[in-house]
């Protein structure tokens, strides 16, 4: 599904993509760090907020991030079955998948919320995800300010 462009002004203009990455410090943060060690060149579109576990990411905060005008949010945790917190990432995955469903229900692109379970644990994988995520977000309209902040 692609999002309808709501505001002509924000679609065509070259704009800076901004995304936040909630990275589990046991897995995805290592992948990100590895990408850094290897000096893989990446788009500077994302900012990482390390978290103890992906299960600690509030869906409400993800929504708040989108409401703040960020183009996308990524939540990255350990692989399913390898969670450092006794499988806490499984219900987290369900919660966040449901949040994707909610975005889709009201017509936002579900790809604005990237979920990764254990696929970001290596440098090149993290880099690949970030490049692709940035490319996807660049193809979407900016989160419409009039939806974010009705005039």
């Amino acid at each position: 599904m692609t999002e309808p462009a709501l505001d002509i002004r924000t679609t065509n203009a070259h704009r800076e993509i901004r995304a936040v990455v909630f990275a589990c410090r046991w897995c995805a943060l290592l992948g990100a760090d590895r990408a850094g060690k290897e000096r893989i060149d990446l788009p500077a579109s994302f900012r990482i907020i390390p978290v103890e576990c992906a299960a600690g990411v509030e869906p409400d905060l993800v929504l708040r991030a989108l409401a703040d005008g960020l183009d996308g949010v990524a939540v990255m945790g350990c692989h399913l079955g390898g969670c450092r917190h006794n499988e806490a990432n499984r219900p987290a995955r369900l919660r966040l998948l449901l949040l994707q469903d909610l975005l889709e229900i009201i017509g936002l692109d579900r790809r604005r919320l990237l979920l990764s379970w254990g696929t970001a644990h290596e440098g090149y994988q993290f880099a690949g995800l970030m490049r692709e995520f940035t490319a996807i977000l660049a193809g979407l309209p900016a989160v419409d300010p009039t939806l974010v902040r009705p005039c």
Binding site: E16, R18, V20, R25, L30, A32, D33, A35, G36, K37, R39, I40, D41, L42, P43, A44, R47, I48, I49, P50, V51, E52, C53, A55, G56, V57, E58, P59, D60, L61, R64, A65, D68, G69, L70, H85, N86, E87, A88, P91, A92, R95, A127, P145, V148, R149
Partner: protein, 570 residues
């Protein structure tokens, strides 16, 4: 300067200045965070740098310090820890400008500098709002409840006693030794089981070990450091307090239920029954007549859809008993029908070789075409197709021995359920694979022996000792904040619940992976500090924002998000 946050930006011996020009950082940060005091330093990670930084902080009385340096996995954590050791404790945190910015955005210095400014501002926003979980005191009763007095439990109890820790050893039977009491000799060295048990019994006969026979655990409550177990001792109820628990309640044999016509033909017996018979036979001199052909059938009621696992002890047990038959009378034709002989390692493979050398015959069968036991009241032969040669074989037999796999004991599930431990698909208890297979996800609860997975007696003893040392470690680290010890530089905290916002809806209780959140009476939901490991799941599912991890509070996360949000919208 006092009261303002200090930002120390490490230029990593000027190697980062190309990607992150100082003036760009300075302008960017100061324009957004005017209160911050900014300093560039060439290096933060050498000991003298850390000492100098600590001295600087002491002099200038800043309210907090943000270290903008390299990744925590490179030198970052070391710097934070170095500061923490310097006895000058002010809120400090780390943002990664090297691996997380300069090194990955080198192709676009402008964007890299902008991101670095964002990262520093995020760090400041989070740092100034960050709180610390309070230290909690954990009472650790220096007493361990060991459930089960088989080889694993005995070894655990004996080890703990020698390490000076009091033990309550409970077993549902009146006698110690568990399943070994039903077995005459043990593989791989054909040791008499009582001989094997003797040193264990002796160790466990320590004054620090209180053995409770005919005892079962009806319920366990409480927290690591102080568990309360309700026991039923020979019909009487009793409550014991223990700092740690060791589950060593073993497994039970799967006995044949008409498998291979066992109920119908005499002469078809289980491996366990053979143990009893062998004990009688081995006592007799000269060797009694009777058995001329014995056939062992392996993998009875195992490695099939209903019980899809290998019980691991059956092959060596069959080898051992086959050899015992051969020892009684070399003339007995012994055949082992198998689906692959499982004797991994050095000693067990040696046992297998020994069995082959002694003239025991091995025939593989396919599970699709299992052997057929023939006879009329008495067994007289076993027919099968040799899976390797495809030949039909009829093996004369007056004794057919069916392997005896182990399955979980029925009380395992309730015991595990009380403690919130997971069972695997087969009903055995799970530890924390792969590095802590004997430790439950909950501190202070350990597993050993066949309650976790079928094991040999020797392995059960080894696991008992290993579980004991884990329990002793847990009880010894009283006062030491394990979290800080195990997770250096960790941001993990302990959940807290704001009473005024809590509706007691119980979502955190249902979700907590460690059983740390719980209802107590009609009060608000409480969090057990020792159970909680700070994953934050409670905060994520709490609808009213009552549950939170101070170190990872939503207010500080929100403040960080504000720093990332596009400027136009702000």
């Amino acid at each position: 300067m006092s009261g303002t946050p200090l930002v120390l930006i490490c230029t990593c011996h000027e190697t980062l200045s190309r990607a992150l020009p100082k003036h760009a950082l300075r302008i960017g940060i100061i324009s957004r965070m005017p209160a911050a005091h900014l300093e560039f330093v060439p290096s933060l990670c050498r000991q003298e740098d850390m000492d100098r930084t600590a001295g600087l902080l002491e002099e200038t009385k800043h309210s907090a310090v943000l270290l903008a340096a390299c990744s925590p996995f490179a030198r970052g954590n070391k710097v934070i820890e170095g500061l923490a050791r310097s006895n000058y404790a002010i809120p400090a945190s780390l943002v990664d400008l090297r691996e997380g910015c300069a090194w990955i955005h080198g192709g676009n210095p402008e964007a890299a500098a902008a991101k670095a400014v964002d990262l520093v501002c995020m760090g400041l926003a989070g740092l100034t709002r960050r709180e610390r979980s309070p230290n909690f005191h954990v009472q650790r009763e220096r007493r361990v409840l060991v459930v089960g007095a088989g080889p694993a439990g005995l070894a655990a109890a004996g080890t703990l006693a020698q390490l000076g820790i009091e033990v309550i050893l409970a077993d549902r039977m009146s006698r110690q030794g568990g399943l070994l009491n039903q077995i005459g000799r043990l593989f791989p060295r054909n040791t008499p089981s009582q001989e094997f048990l003797a040193p264990l019994l002796q160790d466990a006969a320590h004054p620090a070990v209180n053995f409770l026979p005919k005892t079962s655990v009806t319920r366990t409550d409480g927290d690591p450091g102080r568990f309360e177990a309700r026991l039923s001792c020979d019909g009487q109820n009793k409550t014991v307090i223990a700092g740690a628990l060791i589950l060593a309640c073993g497994a039970m044999p799967v006995l044949p239920e008409n498998h291979f016509r066992s109920g119908e033909l005499s002469g078809v017996i289980s491996q366990l029954e053979l143990e009893t018979r062998l004990r009688k036979l081995e006592g007799q001199e000269p060797a009694p007549p009777g058995i001329t052909g014995a056939v062992f059938i392996q993998c009875m009621a195992a490695r099939e859809d209903a019980r899809p696992y290998c019980s691991s002890i059956c092959c060596p047990t069959a080898l051992k008993n086959a050899l015992r038959l051969k020892n009684i009378n070399r003339e007995i034709c012994v055949t082992i029908l198998h689906r692959g002989i499982t004797t991994p390692g050095r000693t067990l493979e040696e046992l297998y070789r020994q069995a082959m050398a002694s003239g025991i015959r091995f025939v593989a069968f396919s599970p699709a075409d299992p052997p057929k036991v023939r006879g009329d009241n008495f067994v007289n032969a076993v027919s099968l197709t040799d899976a390797l040669s495809a030949r039909r074989l009829d093996i004369a037999a007056d004794l057919v021995v069916l392997s005896t796999p182990l399955r979980p004991r029925p009380e395992t599930a309730s015991l595990a359920g009380d403690l919130g431990l997971r069972l695997d698909g087969m009903g055995f208890v799970c530890g924390t694979e792969p590095m802590q297979p004997l430790a439950a996800p909950l501190h202070g609860v350990y597993l050993c022996g066949a309650v976790r997975w079928p094991v040999s007696a020797q392995d059960a003893v080894d696991q008992g000792r290993a579980a004991a040392v884990k329990a002793a470690t847990f009880l010894t680290q009283g006062g030491v904040d394990q979290k800080r010890l195990f997770l250096p530089g960790s941001q993990s905290g302990i959940a807290s619940i704001r009473a005024e916002a809590c509706s007691r809806c119980g979502r955190c209780v249902a979700g907590c992976p460690y059983g740390a959140c719980r209802r107590e009476g009609n009060e608000v939901i409480s969090v057990s500090g020792i159970r909680c490991r700070g994953c934050g799941l409670c905060a994520a599912v709490c609808p009213s924002g009552a549950a939170r991890i101070p170190e990872q509070d939503s207010a500080s996360m929100r403040a960080m998000l504000r720093e990332i949000a596009p400027r136009i919208i702000q």
